[in-house]
Subunit: 324 residues, 3 copies
């Protein structure tokens, strides 16, 4: 508080907290969401084959958070649809992005400078959504931190969390992955925001609401801009994540639980290093032949992503050698 | 109104509006629904392997609309089950259709004349369901046309809209298609009905409720009978649909957005025309090998169906030539 | 009642009915549930790749019944999460089972004597859950036996009934099977319990609540222990099930509905007997090639399981010969 006073940020944070999301920030959220839908593989074709499925998919992208939190709180799922102005705005956006003559809207919105601004504005709406969800849950379940986090997370990252079912609307089904198995950056930053706002609302975090809003908004906007400008998808939390993971979730002992697993991984690793092209083609063939009728464990892909996330392949290999 | 008075249809429409659906029309709905379940591939085998799954599937066919609208309005999903008489009636129908000695009931009900009468009666229940859904939503969300349409549609065509999950009960999973991607005739006519009744309830459509009920019921019954007698599955709205589609959803310019797509479609087209058998076998092989692990875009099948719907292959080909 | 008085079991049943499930019995339920999650193929790998997905899956195993019944009664799905003590207890259990140093907890809990005790205690919680669900539904839907059975069943066997979606969290999707198509023993015993308690609550079954609790608890505990000690998975109801199935669900006439089916089954049977290895490899190949893009009827697997359940292959074969 003192620091905020000193830096004269108190007024700024008050101004931000009183900002109205409607219509400009909401509009930016709709545009960026529908752009990202359009860039999904197969989405453009669906928009030509079935405009209705495409519209429904777009609404799930735009109002996914509201829908998911409504389901979790046993409130009517159609409630987000009852706000005619928002739905109309989102529908116009959907129409212009997918069907505008000469594809003008998509071409303009996809230009980097404009997209940067729109994405920044979308990140601002995230703060409002997460805070809205946390406050709503706080009103219903006074002292349940977990419910507050869950609802805040659902409201802020709903579109991602229900992506399996959103894809199903477009006739795509990818059960081997979901946002819980492999979190994307927006889902992760929303979860962190939900935790922070839940702690703040229950006074475990000694900050005022509008100060936390300012801090969180600045962080998300700056980070998103950085990621878009550098084209990097590296999470700013990779180091912390890795530390937590190594401390809590490896079972502490390489000899007890993990030995078999790690050894197998080492063997796989060796085979991959030795005969990369063969292994690659085999994997494609294997995937193709197996289809989804056998319960394929998603761990191979996951392990790969985890290694990439950890950026510690050398450490792994060293580990393997120690065991062998 | 005047017209109705002149044609002495006012009394008829009043009589229709006061008609009770229970028990005869409801019964016809159950019979036709369970007949269509039984004619699904694999359903008869499921009825022998697991009567409980078959019963649950039948209830989803019979009460799908009530269940889907309950989910959307955050009302108890079990509420339709609490009406013991309806469930008993539907369960008896289910038992007789699937397990009757000598398969008498199925053989009789599947005879064209009886089935025609039953299907006509089922179409009558559609009017009541759509109107019920629209009125229920009107009571809760006064001025939201969209919610009224959604609930009316869900109530009238729920069984179709949740078909992906109904199939899952029977161990079948077809994510590449759903009623939004490729609407069947009943879903389409129910959507139109929901739109009409929603407009009527909000006084945008200057008609009395019982007059609209008469018009809509007569249209659905006559049209269903025509389709069953001629064996045609052509939608009576194909021309209007095509006009709307061409006007709104093609992007207006063949040179901007669609060029790549259309050219590709032309190339595909040419290849298909030239070497049909090869392409066919390749597609089967491709489908088989790829399984569902790759996010297969459903557009090929869709495009095919769309072309069939449009019945305008020549126009497309001409278009292709112009571009090339 | 008299019998209970004579056997001096009245006091025992009162004592049982006043037993508190928290914390020891609940704890046993969490441990056994999470052990069974850990023993699912691929679950251990998921616990390493994504602890969050693993935690969410564990919560679905522990609170699946509460979540499913909340969905069915349109109560907030997050309500089970709002009981912080239970969630904390379940989360600690989850952590210890999956990530304990030296894998001590899993190794201990998996020892037969301890597991036997824990499984017995888990069976005791089933009685409380089923009764809780039935009583809750009785309070809301006075005279609807079906809703009472449904909610009691959902509350007692929720984890199993939502297993398709629990698996989806871990990236596994097995649409060709579910608990309705092929019921496991716990699902079956819970259904029977739900029926009994629903009949008791509506006074169709002339027993006092605490007497029925004693009888049902003793039966489930004894039966579970027997199954664990003998390693048999034979259902104690197999004979009754078969009798009901043969009486009600075969259509009574081998000549009318089933002829084609049974003949085909006979042919399949003959082919399988003659060339087992070929058929086997063909099936694997077929499954592999077909993936899930064709609506594979689940009947072959089902029929197999049914035959095993019935233990009446000879009867079937005799039947076939008679028809041929």
């Amino acid at each position: 508080m003192d620091l905020f006073g000193l830096l004269q940020l108190d007024e700024l944070s008050h101004g931000l907290a009183n900002l109205s999301m409607f219509p400009f920030f909401d509009m930016a959220h709709y545009i960026v969401s529908i752009l990202s839908l359009r860039e999904q593989p197969g989405a453009f074709e669906v928009s030509r084959a079935s405009p209705l499925a495409c519209w429904f998919s777009s609404m799930l992208f735009c109002f996914g958070g509201a829908i998911l939190s409504a389901i979790m709180l046993a409130e009517p799922v159609v409630a987000p649809l009852s706000n005619s102005t928002s739905v109309l705005l989102a529908s116009i956006t959907w129409y212009l992005v997918f069907y505008c003559p000469m594809d003008l809207v998509y071409s303009c919105a996809a230009l980097l400078p404009l997209r940067l601004v729109l994405s920044g504005m979308k990140e601002v709406t995230r703060t409002w959504k997460v805070l809205g969800g946390v406050a709503q849950a706080h009103g219903k379940y006074k002292d349940s931190l977990l419910v507050m986090i869950a609802i805040g997370w659902a409201k802020g990252a709903g579109g991602g969390l229900i992506s399996n079912f959103e894809q199903l609307v477009r006739g795509v089904w990818k059960p081997e992955t979901n946002e819980l198995l492999k979190m994307s950056y927006p889902t992760k930053i929303t979860l962190i925001g939900a935790v922070l706002f839940a702690l703040q609302q229950t006074h475990y975090l000694p900050l005022r609401t509008h100060h936390l809003m300012l801090i969180y908004t600045v962080f998300t906007v700056v980070n998103k801009s950085r990621m878009m400008l550098t084209g990097s998808s590296a999470s700013p939390f990779a180091v912390i994540e890795l530390a937590i993971y190594k401390t809590l979730f490896t079972g502490h002992s390489p000899y007890a639980a993990l030995t078999g697993e790690v050894q197998k991984a080492c063997l796989d690793h060796g085979a991959t290093n030795g005969t990369t092209s063969t292994a690659g083609s085999k994997e494609i063939g294997g995937n193709g032949a197996a289809g989804k009728s056998t319960p394929v464990s998603p761990v191979k892909r996951q392990k790969g992503s985890l290694q990439a996330k950890e950026e510690s392949e050398d450490a792994d290999t060293a580990n393997c050698k120690k065991i062998n």
